[in-house]
Amino acid sequence: MNDGMLSVFQQGLSLLFSFDPDVWAIIAVSFSVSMRAMALTLVPCILMGFGLAVTRFPGRHAVISLCQTLQAIPTVVVGLITYLLLFRQGVLGDLRWLFSQNAMVMAQVMLAAPVLISLSYGAFSSGDWRAWETARTLGASRARAFLTLCHELRAPLLVAIIAAFSRIITEVGASMLVGGNIHNLTRNIPTAIALETSKGEFAQAAALGIVLLILALMINFSLSSLRTQQESLRRG
């Protein structure tokens, strides 16, 4: 790492730890939007993943393939679809959500949903079905048996949640298109990094990049701790 780069990261760290209001406002927007999107998708998508794993209906394979394909849809395409839905002449134009956090939440819901559905479907369909049968035969209601199954499959389900969250917290295309990158309103970490870099203001971009790096480290650390814990339980 040369001196220039080092100095940029030092400035970034100092902005971060001096609690620069601009930097922290951007971080707050990012987390607020992504957490709301996760809160909206989490339960319905995990239930859909479960439903796809346990039910058989015509077109089931098509739905699964569609969800799996949509996991890789470019974020900018989702942004474009959301834009077309929300712009004044769009189907949802009356909501007047374009260039607001609600529009960003909507786009992120569309990005997170296929990831959550596909990965939770994978978790349920490859999970041990005896857990469900044992819970049911021991008197659990369907709802309680479902919660038991989720608890037993918490590691793969957590991977699904983290994958979905990682996808939306780092996406730039959809947020830029439907949020508009408005200061203190819709400017989130990825759009701010893109803007500051294009302006040559690397310090703020570095500060926000550090936040994403710390987040990635924390996620990986908690996942590996969970895996170690489960491994040690199995080995006694």
Binding site: E133, R136, T137, L138, G139, A140, S141, T148, Q230, G236
Partner: protein, 224 residues
């Protein structure tokens, strides 16, 4: 209260596994179900426990006293009353004691009663020194005993056991036999599958054979 299955039929695509006009398992009765691999024993047990839907027919609990028959009030009358035990039991993540207490949460019991049932079950399954250990570290025999004890604490009306003694040592078989005897004496109806004649099948009042898509009760002279 008897477990009654009427006109049950199981079909996988074009393949008909079995068709049984009527099956009655009385409380306090022990039945040994035999049949070749693939005859449908496990599927039959799961249907009787309400875990699998048959292609046709129905399974219900028939009460002797019609005045107290309120099964229609309950959408799921078999749940917790007819318990199925897998050939390789599934143990939940958690301690031995947590596994034992799992089903008790669904019964209207006092804390003292729950605790007392867990204490008895732990002792009966010879798992007292392991009660706070993770259930995942138990040996095959211990897992099987824990699974049976977990069913035992529920005081089920009927217990359906799928190959409960497969690959168990004589000590574990003896412990399981003692638990099943206790259950039977409390009025629990037992239906178990086994390829071998063991301590568990010894005192069966009936032997059924599932073969060629039919279930037949073996006459005394043909019994093992």
């Amino acid at each position: 209260m008897s477990l009654v299955a009427t006109d049950i039929e199981m079909q996988f695509g074009p393949r008909r596994l079995f068709g049984i006009p009527q099956l009655i398992l009385n409380r306090g009765e022990r039945v040994w179900l035999q049949g070749a691999n693939g005859a449908g024993k496990t599927t039959l047990l799961k249907i009787l426990a309400g875990l699998q839907r048959p292609s046709g027919g129905r399974v219900h609990l028939h009460q002797d006293n019609a005045a107290t028959n309120r099964w229609w009030r309950n959408r799921d009358p078999l749940r917790g009353r007819v318990i199925y035990l897998h050939q390789t039991p599934y143990l939940f993540n958690g301690s031995v004691e947590e596994n034992l207490a799992y089903g008790l949460k669904h019964l209207a019991l006092t804390v003292e009663e729950r605790q007392s049932r867990v204490e008895q079950a732990v002792a009966m399954a010879r798992l007292t020194p392991l009660r706070h250990q993770s259930a995942q570290v138990l040996s095959g025999g211990e897992r099987q005993r824990l699974a049976l004890a977990r069913a035992w604490v529920m005081r089920p009306h009927h217990l359906l056991l799928d190959e409960p003694t497969a690959s168990l040592d004589p000590d574990s078989i003896a412990a399981m036999a003692a638990m099943l005897d206790a259950l039977q004496s409390q009025g629990c109806g037992l239906l178990l599958t086994s390829h071998q004649h063991t301590d568990l099948t010894l005192s069966s009042q009936q032997q059924w054979l599932l073969s060629e898509q039919r279930l037949t009760a073996l006459p005394k002279e043909q019994r093992a």
